[in-house]
């Protein structure tokens, strides 16, 4: 398709020598389309007017295709407009052009206008998704810009929008950021339809609501708010909607735009929204009564609210056996503390509180620090910054070079610097430990905030010793305690203490003990499972099947096979905005 556009472009350029620019006849004289005009403009009965208007707005685009058809047996002109870059050309030929041109309109000439366009919609066009009763140019341009085919009929004030999209897109691939050993490997793609499909495929409940809207004056980005009706608290949904509705910006390219526009405390270094690239994680947040925000153009799905401790949980915690998950979670908390505190603790102790170091360790610290030119603070700052630089370089550099950088970095820091006596080996250990520990935090945005806060803490340690570190921690704690994420306290199950939520905070209790949804999030419909699912040996209080008398499989449709493996047309068939799907007429 790309070559197609390109050759067309070249031809156009060749055709009109006088050069590019605004010399071409343009009804709007280079001005941007004003949204006011678009909103009010109605579709005219006169096809010519419509043509002129639309070509005036969109005509300078190389990929705009207009097509006039005069079906046999009827004295009416049918006009199609679409962008060939976004529309499915084969589909158009198969399900619009062929039926229209091969159909014989015998005896239909005398029909009134409305009936004629209804006839086309109901009996001729074979495309699955058609939106009818479109009267404004605003709707038409919107649809065309997202790949829909607009069909005008001479003499009708109505247009049909036929959804036949096919644009270049990345398929569903393996998760890059949130990698798990056990569990699904799928991750979201850049297309919102694919993402919505991935969520729906895992949550086949009529209670799952995916509401759509558009954000971005120019980008017209499709955004969807998803929640599980009956579990989520309605106030939360309302809050998310009102905050998202407030957004008025020219473009939304990534979830970060929305995050910064709707978070509770705009200055806080702590992330107040979670994001995930994993459909399974998103579904689990929905099941916990959270609200998700899907954004077209990014594989990251936002979810709210989040608490500090949520960020230390990986989806795999719930898939792997609970003993291991609990141990790993505790280790992650340790990692969090290390990544936040180790350098500042080291600085404070070695420069102010040497009596706290075990004698033997002190002796070796002194031995290794002898001859190091920098004081411990500067040494730590330099090393930490070097490490951050290496990490940044490792991310940005082309993959082929990345390896070389890490080798050079390891050599420079690990060996040469120590051998030259510029830094002490202990500091290398501290920095390395800090680095490793910060990689242990599953939520990347949280790890970032820890990485950042580390530096002021180091300065505090250097000036005030452990007292300074404690002051910094206390300030941080006070801030976190006052922080809210969409109304939920940021330190949620800990402060205010919700004992029953601790089952899934520092530890992960086995599934049969996780009876309730998080109480901080869910106010009604708290029970998430039957009361006694703990496996018991048969004969003791009944066999396993009699434990739960309710038919557990009742909800799963028998037709699961239909949805099973092939999700090939997920991206192509669906309408751009989920909410608009419902407007499609039946065939």
């Amino acid at each position: 398709m790309g070559t197609n556009i390109f050759s067309r472009l070249l031809k156009k350029r060749a055709a009109k020598k006088p050069g590019p620019g605004l010399d071409r006849q343009d009804p709007l004289k280079g001005k941007a389309v004003s949204s006011e005009d678009l909103k009010t403009r109605k579709i005219s009965r006169n096809l010519k007017e419509n043509k002129e208007y639309l070509v005036g707005i969109l005509g300078r685009n190389v990929d705009l295709v207009t097509r006039e058809i005069n079906p046999g047996g009827v004295n009416r002109t049918i006009w199609l407009v679409y962008l060939e870059t976004l529309a499915d050309n084969n589909g158009i030929s198969e399900s619009i052009l062929k039926p229209l041109m091969l159909e014989q309109f015998i005896g239909e000439i005398e029909r009134p206008d409305a009936d004629f366009i209804e006839l086309i919609e109901n009996s001729i066009i074979t495309a699955p998704q058609i939106r009818s009763k479109v009267y404004t140019m605003d709707d038409v341009t919107d649809a065309v810009m997202s790949g829909t085919v607009a069909l005008f009929v001479d003499g009708c004030t109505e247009a049909l929008l036929i959804s036949l999209k096919d644009w270049p897109q990345r398929g569903v691939e393996k998760a890059d950021i949130e990698v798990v050993v056990r569990g699904p490997k799928e991750s979201f793609a850049e297309t919102i339809d694919v993402n919505a499909a991935l969520v729906r495929r895992r949550l086949r409940s009529p209670n799952l609501v995916i509401e759509g809207l558009k954000l971005g004056r120019e980008t017209n980005t499709a955004v969807a708010i998803a929640y599980l009706k009956g579990v989520v608290s309605p106030g939360l949904v309302q809050e998310v909607k009102s905050r998202v509705d407030r957004i008025d910006i020219d473009g939304i390219l990534e979830s970060g735009y929305i995050e910064e526009l709707i978070q509770d405390d705009p200055y806080s270094p702590f992330p107040q929204l979670g994001y995930s690239e994993r459909p399974d994680r998103v579904v689990s947040t929905l099941l916990q009564g959270r609200v998700c925000i899907l954004i077209d153009g990014t594989p990251m799905v936002l979810y709210v609210p989040v608490a500090f401790t949520d960020m230390l949980q990986s989806p795999e915690d719930y898939y792997e056996r609970y003993h291991y998950s609990t141990a790993i979670r505790l280790l992650r908390f340790l990692g969090l503390i290390i990544s936040l505190l180790l350098p500042s603790f080291y600085i404070a102790i070695t420069t102010y509180h040497q009596e706290m170091i075990p004698t033997q360790l002190l002796i070796s610290i002194v031995a290794y620090r002898e001859g190091v030119p920098l004081p411990a603070v500067l040494e730590a700052l330099v090393m930490e910054m070097t490490f951050e630089a290496l990490r940044e370089a490792g991310i940005r550099l082309p993959r082929a070079v990345g390896q070389a950088v890490s080798i050079v970095g390891a050599l420079v820091i690990g060996q040469a610097a120590v051998q030259a006596g510029v830094v002490s080996p202990l500091m290398v250990i501290v920095v390395a430990l800090t680095g490793i520990a910060s990689f242990m935090i599953p939520a990347y945005n949280q790890a970032l905030s820890m990485r950042l806060i580390r530096f002021p803490l180091m300065l505090l340690a250097a000036t005030l010793g452990l007292f300074g570190v404690m002051t910094g921690l206390l300030a941080m704690l006070i801030h976190m305690a006052s922080l809210r994420s969409f109304g939920m306290p940021y330190l949620a199950p800990l402060a205010p203490l919700k004992v029953s939520d601790l089952k899934d905070t520092f530890v992960r209790v086995p599934w049969w003990a996780m009876h309730k949804r998080p109480t901080e999030l869910v106010k009604r419909n708290k029970q998430r499972m039957a009361p006694s699912l703990k496996p018991r040996p048969p004969g003791e209080g009944g066999s396993q099947s009699s434990v739960n008398p309710v038919k557990r499989n009742a909800g799963i449709p028998s037709s699961y096979r239909d949805y099973g493996g092939s999700g090939k047309d997920q991206g192509t068939g669906a309408g751009n905005s989920p909410s608009k799907r419902s407007g499609g007429g039946g065939t």
Binding site: T350, Q354, L362, L464
Partner: protein, 422 residues
């Protein structure tokens, strides 16, 4: 949150500036520290004190010689350096030391306080200890020792080998429970004893002895004709911790030997190990090659003063649990009668040790290291007030009754002794 953004930023900046003004005043990089392992106090001429400290050389001690090769150490780098100064008070001496110490002397990791016997006998202990009690750098777990030998020999000689006295002395004391031949006295206990009404203080004894094994080597070398080779070797000296320095009031009064020291510990209930050898049968003496060695597992004691008809006496109840470790006579250890007999012998041996300690402390030094006075004070506070002025005299003639309960718990892996059958 009434502050607007600008004000918040200003506040933050001001705090940052303030930090740079106030912070860092007591900031000290680790490598600027002179870590001190031993502080030793000695008598100097003209009634002055001599303070010697052992500064650790971390590079040698940490084996960090490889680090960058910086410093270019000689092969004979010693792991420590002793420096000393003379003055009227300890603090004065320490500050005098700063005239030639390139480091800031740092006492928080000091583990040993050495007092020479001469000083202990001639200077009031309260005037020595005040500094250690007052200074925030000294920990309460510093060991307090009185040295029989010259201070410099204790701090110097063994250091030629890998382990300097700084590490050697605490390491030895950590094994105190294996012999119980000296009390484990830490600064905290020492100060507590000192300030407690009705107790006298004691400290560990330390001395330097020639290494017996090396003496024998040299003798053997001479008889073998390798005299030339052997003579070049110097006989190493060993530090030995043992015995107890007993104070009477402010001054040191004398020594308890190792057995007597254990006698003291029995009364204190602090014998948690050590070996006692008794004859297998009561009529024998231990020297007859027919003896049983027992290791003490634990020991409890209770001191009960009795005041009956104007007569004060003290009953000391000692409970001991021991195991049999070595048997040199042919006996059936599973026989209860035999076990009972050696239990009795064990109790007898303990009694001997305690009585020796009591005799020395009560009659020779008149030092109430057992804390009988305190026990009386606690039980009969009213009477104590009357007794206190004459306590020294009363203590000297205080009847002490011992009730010793010795038990043997185990006999090792075998019940019958090893025997050669012909």
């Amino acid at each position: 949150m009434g502050l607007n953004f600008k004000k918040k930023v200003m506040l933050l900046l001001i705090i940052t500036w303030l930090l740079s003004l106030t912070g860092c005043w007591d900031h000290l990089e680790v490598e600027r520290l002179g870590i001190i392992g031993i502080i030793a106090l000695d008598q100097a001429p003209e009634g002055k004190l001599r303070v010697t400290v052992q500064i650790i050389n971390p590079k040698v001690l940490a084996g960090g010689g490889q680090v960058g090769g910086a410093g270019g150490m000689s092969a004979y780098a010693r792991p420590y350096r002793n420096v000393s100064a003379e003055g009227n008070t300890i603090m004065e001496c320490i500050r005098l030391l700063s005239l030639h110490a390139p480091y800031r002397l740092f006492f928080a990791h000091n583990q040993t306080i050495l007092i020479s016997e001469e000083l202990a006998r001639n200077r009031d202990i309260e005037k020595i200890v005040d500094f250690f009690d007052r200074n925030q750098q000294f920990r309460r777990n510093n060991y307090v020792l009185v040295s029989r030998s010259d201070i410099s020999s204790v701090m110097g000689l063994p250091g030629e080998t890998q382990v300097p006295a700084t590490q050697r002395i605490p390491s030895i004391i950590r094994q105190q429970y294996l012999s119980s031949f000296y009390p484990n006295v830490q600064l905290g206990d020492f100060l507590e004893n000192l300030e407690c009404d009705g107790r006298d203080v004691y400290a560990m004894g330390i001395q330097v002895e020639p290494n017996e094994a090396e003496v024998r080597e040299q003798l053997a070398g001479e008889s073998d004709g390798n005299a030339e080779e052997q003579r070049t070797k110097t006989i190493g000296m060993l530090v030995k911790v043992g015995g107890t320095a007993v104070f009477k009031g402010n001054r040191m009064a004398g020594w308890l030997n190792e057995r007597e020291s254990r006698g003291l510990l029995w009364v204190k209930g602090q014998v948690n190990g050590g070996v006692i050898t008794v004859p297998c049968f009561p009529e024998q003496t231990p020297g007859q090659n027919k003896s049983v060695s027992m290791e003490i597992l634990r020991n409890k004691s209770r001191i009960q003063p009795e005041f009956i008809d104007g007569e004060l006496s003290v009953i000391v109840k000692i409970d001991v649990v021991a195991t049999v470790q070595e048997v040199l006579c042919m006996v059936e250890l599973e026989q209860p009668a035999f076990i009972e007999s050696i239990e009795e012998a064990l109790a007898g041996a303990i009694q001997t040790e305690v009585e020796a300690a009591l005799a020395k402390a009560q009659h020779e030094y008149q030092s109430d290291i057992f804390g009988f006075g305190e026990v009386v004070h606690r039980k009969y506070p009213a009477i104590w007030k009357e007794l206190k002025p004459d306590w020294a005299e009363i203590y000297r003639n205080l009847p002490v009754y011992l009730e010793i309960d010795a038990r043997i718990r185990r006999t090792g892996l075998i019940t019958k002794p090893v025997e050669v059958h012909r």
